[in-house]
């Protein structure tokens, strides 16, 4: 499926959309296509709301954000996000805030269709006072000291669609990831529909030579999109490196609304699709991010004699 068709089919105005990938394999190209197609009133769910979220905000796609970290990695600020939250410019942003493990537990509860997931965070934090979704449950077992024990819980999240980026998948959607695997599998299982964007679609035999490498099985996947370099400016282990210079520059780009508008005009609205975005960067640019070889040693799965 093309990215255009996948976004048209699976992302609708008003949807709750999860985009996951923890610093690695961030589905940027999918985010850009959502902006190009002009989606509105999305609730975006993402642990680390970083550059792609700032861009979706700048595209006017998002009315609500559910997240546990709002920053440009450790490289600086998100200008549009800060304007939306600090001064409601150009419009307010509804923000539902959790911690990282809170978000992970929401995905775990969502994936398992549980009414809640307990966790040992939030005790004494001010976060529950600004997020009524964070509640307490009394354990039915005595605590270590014999007394009644309370614990915080978070509610499940079940996005209308989860979009993740991966290194490779077969045609039916069996998706293999190596390096940082993040929370992608849980986010996919929590969702009603899932779109997997990959660096390459490979032959069945490649996937089947190493079934333990499959992080997301086909039964959980509704569309597979081939989109090389679709995780830029983040990285794809073994495919291309992180574009640290772009991360650093984003603070400056996004700080100035005019400059941000120009950037969006040039790189998102000004490109028909991600292939054009990639071509526009130029070959030298990609050569800078190229990586060498460090191959895994094969293991034997065995064959009955």
């Amino acid at each position: 499926m093309t990215m255009k068709d996948a976004i048209a089919s699976f992302v609708h105005d008003g949807d709750t959309v999860s985009l996951e990938g923890f610093t690695h394999l961030i589905p940027t190209a999918a985010g850009h296509e959502i902006i190009r197609q002009g989606r509105r009133n999305l609730t975006v769910v993402r642990m680390t709301a970083d550059i792609v979220v700032d861009q979706l905000l700048a595209g006017g796609c998002v009315t609500k954000l559910v997240s546990s970290f709002v920053g440009n990695s450790s490289a600086g600020s998100l200008g549009e996000l800060r304007r939306r939250i600090e001064s409601a410019e150009p419009e307010p942003l509804e923000f539902e805030e959790y911690s990282h493990y809170g978000m992970i537990c929401r995905y775990l509860a969502g994936a398992q269709r549980l009414p809640f997931h307990p966790l040992r965070s939030y005790a004494g934090s001010d976060l529950p006072s600004v997020n009524p979704g964070i509640r307490k449950v009394t354990s039915p077992y005595p605590g270590p000291d014999g007394a009644t024990e309370e614990i915080y819980v978070v509610p499940p999240v079940n996005p209308d669609v989860t979009i993740v980026h991966a290194q490779r998948a077969d045609r039916s959607g069996n998706t293999q990831v190596w390096g940082l695997t993040g929370v992608q599998a849980e986010a996919v299982y929590a969702a009603k529909k899932a779109v997997v964007v990959v660096e390459e679609i490979v032959e069945d035999e490649v996937v089947r030579s190493d079934p333990n490498r499959t992080v997301i099985p086909s039964h959980a996947v509704h569309a597979v999109v081939a989109c090389p370099r679709g995780a830029h400016p983040s990285f794809a282990q073994g495919y291309y490196d992180r574009d640290n210079a772009f991360y650093r520059s984003w603070s400056h780009i996004s700080k100035d609304p005019a400059r941000l508008r120009d950037w969006m005009a040039e790189w998102v609205y000004g490109t028909r699709d991600h292939a054009e975005y990639v071509a526009k960067q130029g070959e030298e640019f990609w050569a800078e991010l190229a990586v060498g070889e460090a191959m895994s040693l094969p293991v034997n799965y065995g064959r009955r004699l």
Partner: protein, 279 residues
Amino acid sequence: MTAPPNDAPNDAPYDGPYDGETKMTAAGTATSSELLSVVASRELAGRRTVFAGIGLPTLAASLAHLTVAPRLEIVYESGVCGAHPSQLPETIADAVLITGAEAVLSMATLFGSVLQGGHIDVGFLGAAQIDRHGNLNSSVIGDWDRPKVRLPGSGGAMEVMANSGEVFVVMRRHDPRSFMAELDFCTSPGPDRALADGITPRGAGVTRVITDLGILARSGAGEELRLVAVHPGVTVDRVRAATGWDLQVADEVATVEPPTAAELRLLREDVDPGRVYLR
């Protein structure tokens, strides 16, 4: 992401790109980064597992591994355990941390089984604001609803605080805007606030705060941070003035031993030869 230390641009109102300052400190020829890294590394003596973000915590842990804590394992928030990078990583998710690592864990395993499971001896955290009990704010300056400055938020900081055996905080600038009597917002609470919320805490909370003026310490619930050491040339009064509450001071305030030539050589030649963080 856990909240970066208070020198990071997101910790506005100190906004703008990092200025790369290399001003000399009272410790002699060491830069501020070197000084903080060396002092933090010494505090890791004998520790087994440390949860650290990139930057000063990585430098401190790497140096400790070469000096006072040879069995130290750094667990990164990205899920990497036992990294053997070919080059110094630039982020906690740098690809060079993964190639050649001993294990890469999913977020659920890292936060659930490793961190909440109690496998981390020392967690490193930064913050925009800290109070006398080591409670931390990395969320907002001002009100949460309409903040003057929106900071990154918890990330995994709350989990690091709740579940590590103890927490070390590195603060580059010891001043009353950061060392506050009342936090604007408590992101990551120490054990005293957990107890007040009716929940028995797991770890000791913040036990060490390493700053450009000295070292504050406490050992667990019920205790305030106390000034236990100052850098050479720093007076107790100067630290008191830089602290937004009536700072407790140890009976005997030590003077931090300046970085030794051996420590500085390891840091500069082996840990960060490219001076990626030793700005």
